[in-house]
């Protein structure tokens, strides 16, 4: 973390978002995309050398079909995120899910992640929207971790059919405390890495 901590000249109130309509910045193609592109190219080459062009085309057609099926859901997720960012009042979100929201904020984030419908195409745009409208890292971590560990979507669609009801039930039960603990750890670490006045967790 060589990045210097962000200066926050405003006094100790947590309304860091001064502009009325913060917009998520769209990212240029970054190193992660280049990395994955190289990884895919290398893997596809290995598949070609092992299985020939048929192997390459078989995976391609299968994944194209998968991609086509996912696309409408990605659109739904993006719209969901945009509407949430527009509808949720910033002051209320930063009070309920902001740095000073305490255990209650982590619990709200956990509950939200557990009931959120859909897959990654919903969870990540919505999490990004929450960050934009004033949720802190801790509550957003609780939400994302809750969605991935105790959300019903993936468990019902994939885990129960493949790993069985018994395993899935105990796995989810054991995971119950993790979102709140991860959010709390996130807050604990965050205020030490990025020290700012007025952001002490309660």
């Amino acid at each position: 973390m060589s990045e210097p901590p962000l200066k926050q000249p405003s006094p100790a109130d947590d309304s860091a978002e001064a502009d009325p309509a913060p917009r998520r910045k769209r990212k240029p193609v970054g190193w992660s995309m280049i990395f994955i592109g190289v990884l895919v190219a290398v893997s596809a080459t290995l598949v070609y050398r092992r299985d020939g062009i048929d192997g390459v085309l078989e995976i391609l057609s299968h994944d194209m079909a998968l991609f086509g099926g996912i696309l409408p859901r990605v659109l739904a997720g993006c719209l969901l995120g945009a509407f949430i960012a527009e509808i949720l009042p910033h002051e209320k979100v930063s009070r309920a899910l902001g740095p000073n929201s305490g255990l209650k904020g982590l619990l709200i984030g956990t509950a939200f992640g557990a009931i959120l419908p859909g897959g990654p195409f919903t969870a990540y745009p919505v999490a990004a929207a929450l960050l934009t409208v004033g949720a802190d890292f801790g509550a957003t971590i609780a939400m994302v971790v809750s969605w991935t560990l105790i959300g019903y979507g993936r468990a019902v669609a994939w885990e129960i059919p493949i790993l069985g009801t018994d395993f899935t039930f105990w796995r989810a039960l054991i995971s119950l405390p993790i979102p709140v603990l991860a959010g709390a750890l996130g807050r604990f670490v965050y205020v030490r890495i990025y020290p700012k006045r007025g952001d002490e967790p309660s």
């Binding site: 994955i36 893997s43 194209m64 696309l71 739904a76 999490a127 971590i141 971790v145 395993f167 105990w170």
Partner: protein, 167 residues
Amino acid sequence: MTISALIIDFTLWGSVLVLGFIAFRRGRTVAISAAREGTMDFINIVPRIGLGVIGSGYIAAVIPPEVITGWLGPDSGWLGVLTAVIAGGLTPGGPVVGFSIGAVALKVGGGPPQVIAYVVAWALFAFQRLILWEIPFMPARFVWFRAAVSLPFPFLAAALAMVIGKP
């Protein structure tokens, strides 16, 4: 299309419609600008998701599941948990791959705590999902921070599984 996929699509688009309606009641311009914002996000993200989804089949094809189940091994204590966590983080592909590897590991005699650690680690910080799904949608700083903070929890889950003796 399966029933669960139908239910997912129904709740998903239902939520979009409800929220869109709420935004529309705030004002037409609000709703339209939000819809435009969401559509622009979508257009911006499609190539990244496309690269990931279409490419992940190749990555999964060159890392055969046997490699990962081999690492999980039979009942192997905390060393097994550690290798399970590493394997979970390195597992490519979607939920079918991750859960199937867990199922195979259970069948070949892997201990339940190790398999729990594997599944939880995969759910929390599988590298391919971080790069393909999380980074395109969220600030990179948040993604890496969340992954780092999540590191201890597969171990905690394994410990809880050992204590309660389930599943």
